[in-house]
């Protein structure tokens, strides 16, 4: 059974299409990833699904409730951890959770019991009476994770859950997300532009670019599409004509002086490639990653864009701040 089903979900910002007729079905209980560069429309999609911005056209069902017609029932069914910290730092961790429980109309005894449970789940029981401003970035994210779970939602949305965290905190957050997806029997939708994160956490993922889904499958299957190993070479004047003739070279991509090849059995064929291509400054061979998958589908490396926010996200902020 699907817990989320979108139907031509679309969002225009002043004529710019941020999300373009999105059709997506997410199964109950899975961790589903929306992967794409900044500005691909991930956050806009999420904001529509959680009823914070209305779609321009199309709609979606969450837990069988329509996001346009039944926003209140949709809101009850979902929890969300926003991209930026959204807890009140003048309140304690416990008070933030209590406030959330009240906002969701939880009965007092259930609320208190559940607060204990979620605090334990994210290991914040010892710090629950500290003001949130004394928390580290990772702790604050964990608190918001606990808060998102407090009211027993059917779906949990995580918008870039580890953005801006140090490597150690990122791994901790991953552990908690994995753990709670098993313990809480909950569907999780996360957006990310980190390939490793999507690979590690998601059962299935959709690669989204310019508001459209360009590929949707399990990380393993997506990687199979590459059909070989990936060879990265730094080279000033590549002799590409010769390389293109080789039958074991499946794909070729050039970005400045970086040449990316997809090669069957790279270990065996690498000497021959090096001989033909010219004077190489450095070379690297690896099995396909989601980075390569993204490059395969969009023709661009995700890194090429992620340095600055894309127009979709910027439009969204622009609209939101008005």
């Amino acid at each position: 059974m699907s817990i989320i089903k979108t139907n031509n979900l679309t969002k225009n910002f002043n004529g710019l299409v941020a999300v373009d007729k999105l059709n997506l079905e997410i199964e109950e209980g899975e961790i589903f990833g929306l992967l794409g560069p900044n500005g691909a429309g991930k956050t806009t999609t999420l904001m529509m699904l959680v009823t914070l911005i209305p779609p321009s056209s199309g709609t979606a069902l969450i837990n069988n409730y329509d996001i346009v017609k039944q926003p209140d029932l949709v809101r009850k069914s979902l929890g969300i951890v926003f991209q930026d910290p959204s807890s009140d730092d003048i309140l304690t961790g416990y008070e933030n959770l209590k406030l959330h429980g009240l906002l969701y109309g939880m009965p007092a005894n259930l609320r208190e019991k559940r607060i204990k449970e979620v605090l334990k789940l994210v290991d914040l029981t010892a710090r629950k009476n500290d003001l949130v401003k004394k928390y580290s970035g990772g702790m604050r994210r964990r608190l918001e994770l606990a808060r998102g779970l407090l009211h027993h939602p059917k779906v949990l949305f995580l918008d870039e859950p580890t953005l801006g965290l140090d490597p150690q905190s990122r791994e901790t957050i991953w552990q908690y997300v994995k753990e709670l997806s098993q313990k809480e029997k909950i569907s999780i939708i996360l957006t990310t532009h980190y390939m490793d994160e999507a690979d590690l956490l998601c059962k299935r993922l959709a690669i989204i670019d310019h508001g459209k889904i360009v590929a949707l499958d399990t990380p393993a299957n997506l990687k199979k599409v590459i059909g070989g190993d990936v060879v990265l070479m730094q080279i000033a004047k590549p002799n590409l004509a010769e390389i293109k003739k080789l039958d074991f070279v499946k794909k070729l991509h050039v970005n400045n002086n970086l040449v990316t090849l997809t090669v069957i059995n790279a270990n065996e064929h690498l000497p021959q490639i090096l001989q033909l291509i010219g004077k190489v400054e450095s070379v690297e061979v690896h099995s396909p990653t989601l980075d390569d998958v993204f490059l395969h589908y969009t023709g661009r490396a995700i890194r090429e864009e992620s340095a600055e926010g894309g127009w979709g996200e910027r439009m969204m902020n622009y609209q939101a701040k008005r």
Partner: protein, 257 residues
């Protein structure tokens, strides 16, 4: 319906906790009006006579209204902060209506104001008793009357602050716009001077100022003298409050993230 009431309580709970935690806010909000009463009132009072009453005593009702005016309207800045720190999203994504969020915020802001009013009324009683403000005698009737008048007034003024706040994206912008609203309201309200003898060009403006009627009603219950009847004053205050609250709920319904 029950959930909406709990939601209103939730919004209020947070506002109240934050208020209690920002001790400097409470202290500043009490020190300023005391300075007005003792220094401004004492200084100007030494050369200005208002018929029948000491100048400090005369402005005491006005200073009560001033405290409520400043504290209530500036309270709207907190919604700008909520938006800036993204806390607003957490509240807006919850399954309660925008109307409940608005009401919770209004009650939260009104609570802040009323705590300050209560402290000032107690200080006024003490200052009157020890002769620091000669002639100020607060009775139980004036004490309770002032609380009722100011509670209604503060709900309207908090709503004005929230309406401005719901449209602004920066705290600096809020400060600027709200100052344009607050200062004319304050000066025209007659908080610092009697309004019965004004130049002909000025008088109509004071009558357009809703806080004029709050100050007049306060003078009625505290000093026993006023320009209009208490019924007249209260009628205008209540009608104004009802209109502003209606505009406020509309502004919240239309509010963007």
């Amino acid at each position: 319906m029950k959930n909406e009431l709990i939601g209103i309580y939730a919004v209020w709970y947070r506002e109240f906790k934050v208020f209690l935690r920002e001790k400097s806010r409470i202290v500043a909000s009490i020190v300023t009006p005391v300075l007005w009463l003792l220094i401004f009132g004492g200084g100007l009072g030494s050369s200005v006579r208002i018929t029948g009453v000491n100048y400090q005593t005369f402005i005491f009702p006005g200073i009560l209204a001033q405290v409520v005016l400043f504290s209530s309207v500036f309270y709207g800045v907190y919604i700008v902060w909520d938006r800036k720190i993204d806390f607003l999203k957490e509240v807006l994504v919850a399954p309660i209506s925008r109307v409940s969020i608005f009401i919770g915020k209004v009650i939260g802001g009104a609570t802040d104001s009323m705590i300050q009013v209560l402290i000032l009324l107690i200080l006024g009683t003490i200052f009157g008793a020890i002769g620091l403000i000669p002639g100020l005698q607060l009775t139980i009737y004036s004490f309770l009357g002032a609380l009722v008048i100011l509670f209604i007034t503060t709900t309207a003024l908090v709503s004005i602050g929230l309406i401005i706040g719901s449209q602004m994206e920066s705290p600096e912008g809020f400060q600027l716009i709200s100052s344009f609203v607050i200062f004319p309201i304050f000066f025209l309200s007659g908080a610092l001077f009697p309004i019965n003898n004004l130049p002909i060009w000025l008088a109509p403006f004071t009558l357009l100022d809703p806080v004029t009627y709050a100050v007049d009603a306060l003078r009625n219950v505290i000093l026993g003298s006023s320009q209009f009847t208490l019924f007249h004053d209260m009628g205008i205050i209540i009608a104004f409050t009802a209109v502003i609250i209606a505009i406020g709920t509309y502004a919240f319904k239309k509010m963007k993230l």
